[in-house]
């Protein structure tokens, strides 16, 4: 371990990496603080760059970017009442009201420190839980991987917000797209319409750029977000006040951290959902809970939810690194990059590439510490960040979408795929279909199919193996629990309300 760690430190201590991390951090803050541009969009547009970097800087850039973007999403919530990323949506009302009452600096400062500590907490959970889980995962065979992937698919649908029928359809679309190209069992070309370009399947990266980048541009120009002038905030003594406030609510913060890490660990659920759940828990546990989101604004829900969304970012890497099953959309994109770079996530990563893994851990903690100075500057310069006009920004994003997809394979096919997925993403969002399950379907589809086909060919269609192997059975039961989550949630809710009348 010590050996790996010292090797990891020497890998991390390079100018190239520092530069990449710094640039990715600034980029993440910029995208995160612009309403409507999500951290997933930032990841999709970052991928073409990451594609050309070595594995470690590539991973580091995505980690740093996502950590910063999730925090920066708080900035427009407080200033113009629009969440910068969906992960900040839970507490937008409270932040904005605090700003109106002259306490915006406190709201943002507390958000910054809660995000940083939450991120470090999630990072520590990753560092300690991942190697343990990896030991279990080493015993996995194709049966277990099949179930883990199914668990990811189930979680993606059940835990996503909104209609579950629509979530399932979104997932099926992703799964369908993943079947295009040569099939895995006999090499038969599926849905290629005779085109040899499609034999290798639909490239994941341009699909993501379209789904999250171009579609967002289309949405922004069709219904432009209302122009709102940001309220100026006084940033004097910001960090000191924030630190003492956070200390007063340390229980709430730790609660948020735990909830965030737990939800982030689930395959398919990330920071957005973590923030909503932590908000609800904080609300239910607080004396003034029922006034949250109204009145002059409350700092406590910001502490809870802001601690949770960044903790979720860290623990989302647990299923990604241990099983190769992404924890949320950003890690799904990262997984796509890793596979292209020849890094196969999974338990063997913990053995064969331990130094790389430890470097990832170090980057995680470092990124969250770096967030404090960068975030501080962002809060001070927030007025400027929000003044970049859409008319200039949107065409620039279009240019990056086009070049980014082109550069993956130096081909126009990828640009076409990007365009089609951009239009598809717009239509799906318009009809209230969630986009995240599409990505997870796209990434997990081949894993499900490969492990299923391998298993059944190996045993000549003895399906009982999926149920009778002890670990398979355990994973299946976990899947069923997730499937029953909506029912359980209602039951638990009723039980608790019964016990503790408000």
């Amino acid at each position: 371990m010590i050996d790996n760690l010292s090797q990891a430190f020497s890998m991390v201590a390079s100018w190239e990496l520092l530069l990449v991390v710094l640039a990715a951090g600034v980029y993440g803050i910029f995208i995160g603080s612009i309403p409507g541009l999500t951290a997933t969009l930032a990841a999709a547009l970052l991928v073409p760059f990451a594609f050309f970097l070595d594995p470690l800087p590539a991973i580091a850039s995505i980690i740093t970017m996502s950590v910063m973007a999730i925090f920066a999403g708080d900035i427009p919530s407080a200033l113009v009442r629009m969440p910068g990323t969906p992960a900040s949506a839970a507490y937008v009302e409270d932040s904005y009201r605090l700003t109106q009452n002259g306490r915006g600096a406190l709201a943002l400062g507390v958000g910054l420190l809660a995000s940083a500590t939450g991120g470090i907490f999630g990072g520590l959970v990753l560092i300690f839980a991942a190697p343990q889980l990896a030991k279990v995962a080493l015993l996995f065979t194709s049966y277990e991987y099949f179930w883990v992937a199914i668990l990811g698919l189930t979680a993606a649908v059940i835990i996503s917000r909104g209609s579950q029928v629509k979530g399932t359809i979104a997932l099926l679309i992703g799964l369908f797209v993943s079947t295009i190209g040569l099939d895995i069992s006999v090499g038969f070309p599926r849905f290629t319409f005779g085109s040899s370009d499609l034999l290798g399947g639909i490239n994941f990266i341009p699909a993501m750029i379209g789904l999250f980048g171009l579609s967002q541009v289309l949405r922004n120009v069709i219904s432009p977000p209302p122009a709102a002038l940001p309220i100026r905030i006084e940033s004097k003594g910001l960090l000191r006040n924030a630190a003492s406030t956070l200390w007063n609510y340390k229980k709430t913060a730790v609660g948020g951290n735990v909830i965030g890490s737990a939800i982030g660990t689930l395959p398919g659920a990330g920071g957005d959902i973590a923030a909503w759940v932590a908000y609800a828990v904080t609300k239910n546990g607080a004396k003034e809970g029922k006034n949250f989101g109204s009145g002059t604004g409350h700092i406590q829900p910001i502490v809870g939810a802001s601690s949770a969304n960044n903790a979720g970012v860290g623990s989302a890497y647990i299923p990604t690194l241990v099983f190769g099953i992404p924890g949320d959309t950003i890690t799904a994109i990262l997984l796509g990059v890793l596979l292209v770079k020849g890094v196969q996530p999974g338990p063997s990563l913990f053995d064969s590439q331990a130094p790389l893994l430890y470097s990832i851990f170090i980057v995680f903690i470092a990124a969250n510490i770096l967030m404090i100075p960068l975030g501080y500057l962002a809060i001070r310069g927030s007025g400027m960040l929000l003044r970049v006009p859409n008319s200039v920004l949107m065409p620039i994003i279009v240019a990056f979408c086009v070049v980014g997809s082109f550069s993956i394979n130096n081909g126009l096919l990828e640009v076409g795929i990007m365009l089609i997925f951009g239009i598809l993403g717009y239509l799906l969002e318009q009809a209230k279909f969630p986009l995240a399950p599409v990505v997870l379907g796209l990434v997990l589809g081949p894993i499900v199919e490969k492990n299923f086909m391998q298993s059944v060919i190996k045993t000549e269609w003895d399906l009982t193996q999926f149920l009778t192997r002890p670990m398979s059975a355990a994973l299946m039961i976990l899947t069923i629990i997730v499937l029953l989550y909506p029912v359980l949630q209602k039951l638990i809710g009723r039980l608790l309300r019964y016990r503790k009348p408000l």
Binding site: F49, F52, A90, R161, V165, K166, T168, I169, L172, L175, F176, T179, D183, S185, V186, F188, R190, F191, L214, L218, V221, I222, S223, W276, V277, Y279, A280, K283, N284, P389, N390, S391, V392, M394, P395, I396, V398, A399, F400, C401, V402, V403, S407, L412, V415, G416, M418, L419, G422, Q430, A431, K432, F433, F452, M453, V456, I457, Q489, G493, L496
Partner: protein
């Protein structure tokens, strides 16, 4: 304690989402059927079991099922849910034209980049779009050309992507 604190604001006010359910349900059912139709004559495994068609077949089947569920929901809700009120916001012709122009710009790139080259094509795209989206003409030219040059430098010089030169090369 309930875990779903988010009665989505838009949803509780009116339910515009329902108006899409009919159309999306039909599309999903048709698409699922098309998949089933396409995979029915795929080859089987040497041992005779389903091979390449199994997975897409399941996807197609589930799509039909989910599409029917969606249609069922639409049918159930169609009376109880108020139809989205005639929206006060006028039809956003401007927005739709801008969106078509963005899609057009990407198609423009696909069609002419091999001939005009990257620098010319992307300059035209970005300058045109920035101007169209409401910036002043000199802002559009400056920002568009600058963006193109920055993108060119990053991708062609730093990342070594062979961006098309067109007739310049």
């Amino acid at each position: 304690m309930t875990f779903d604190p988010a009665p989505e604001v838009e949803e509780s006010v009116e339910k515009p989402e329902n108006s899409y359910d009919l159309a999306s349900g039909v599309v999903v059912v048709v698409f699922g059927s098309a998949i089933l139709l396409a995979v029915h004559d795929y080859p089987t495994l040497p041992s005779g079991e389903l091979g390449p068609s199994l997975f897409p077949g399941i996807i197609g089947g589930l799509m039909i099922l989910m599409g029917v569920l969606l249609l069922g929901r639409w049918f159930n809700d169609r009376k109880t849910v108020r139809p989205a009120k005639a929206k006060p916001e006028a039809v956003h012709w401007r927005g739709w034209i801008n969106a078509s122009l963005i899609i057009g710009a990407v198609i423009f790139y696909l069609l002419v980049v091999d001939f005009l080259g990257f620098l010319t094509t992307v300059s035209i795209m970005t300058v045109g779009l920035i101007f169209r989206l409401g910036a002043k003409w000199w802002v559009a030219i400056a920002a568009g050309v600058l963006t193109t040059l920055v993108v060119w430098l990053i991708f062609n010089k730093v990342l070594l992507v062979p961006l098309p030169l067109g007739f310049w090369g």
